[in-house]
Symmetry: C3
Subunit: 142 residues, 3 copies
């Protein structure tokens, strides 16, 4: 089993935002040259994350609305108070949602194709943008 390492960069444009990265991940699997294996997608950030769900922008707004209702951006958080002078650190909501959503997922591939269901897309979830982000991709395969 061999390793191919790559990454993708993203520029998000909103505070909370979902971006479909499925085709970029598929291209990296192709670039690896492996036929069978699995890929660990790791978001190296504490205020952005990753999920697998439908590629429907209306649904994405529903998802972000519920996340914001469950963990409001503007509640009183110790983390935000401590960094009261730093606008870029008013983001405890994003850290908490990152814990709930998990910044890492492992996806198998067979014959060079990701094992995803018909309606499954790989979604990058910005929780404290706009920022420049990346996803580390480790492809293990043969």
């Amino acid at each position: 089993m061999n390793l191919y390492r790559d990454k993708i960069s993203l520029k998000t444009t909103s505070r909370l935002q979902i971006i479909d990265i499925t085709s970029r991940i598929s291209q990296i699997i192709k670039k690896s040259g492996f036929k069978n294996g699995f890929s660990i997608l790791h978001v190296p950030h504490t205020t952005a994350t990753i999920a697998v769900n439908e590629g429907d922008p209306d649904l994405w707004e529903d998802i972000l609305e519920v996340l914001t209702r469950l963990v409001p951006t503007d509640a009183k958080y110790r983390h935000n108070l401590k960094y009261g002078g730093t606008p870029s650190e008013q983001n405890a909501h994003a850290h908490i949602l990152n814990c709930l959503l998990n910044p890492s997922i492992t996806i198998p591939f067979i014959d060079g194709r990701l094992v995803l269901g018909t309606w499954q897309s790989i979604l990058f979830i910005e929780l404290d943008g706009p920022r420049v982000r990346k996803v580390d991709i480790m492809v293990y395969g043969v």
Copy 2:
């Protein structure tokens, strides 16, 4: 490290439902013939998911009740409005919970036995049933 691929099928009978699939996963590990390795369990659906917790049906009702309280089935969602004519697409709650719960988990096995704690069972979680469902199982091992 070799690959053995299998899947299980399930027929769920309720809107939200938890089904213990531990013994079926254990059997697939046995069928693989591998002694040591790990298994990626991937639910290829966007409105059903998987978790690891106790095999207690009373607890399962608690879990589903809390999930439904946090993300109600009958709230107003853009996704549901868009598909207003399609009863089978009134399921934004299920998509959102799928993001929170994650449809994939990686579980190691040693000497042919899943590395699970005494009280851990593998639970399939239906969020928009009744439907016919499956779980893709990729076993990597030697």
Copy 3:
């Protein structure tokens, strides 16, 4: 690809508590002797879990406060009623949060170093302490 298996033990001191275990995991990667691979961190408990986020104790209090707000420790749960006589089983909240947070994570390493972002620490999350806990660590690598 070879396997090195290890575990860490923890003694938690509060009902809900977060403990940074990054350095202990890093040491185990070193002990494995592997340069490249990945590690499956599996919490074999149904009322404790694991996450990857910032090593900030103030933030940890925010996280635990939100978790307790979303899934209160003292709500009425069937699981708790059933075990009404057993104080150690008044923990349905912890089971439910374990499902939401997931008790397992896979983290790659390159040149013997965990692939983590600058602000990412590996956090053990006690949800029903104080208890003696462990984390199973399976390191696959070359």
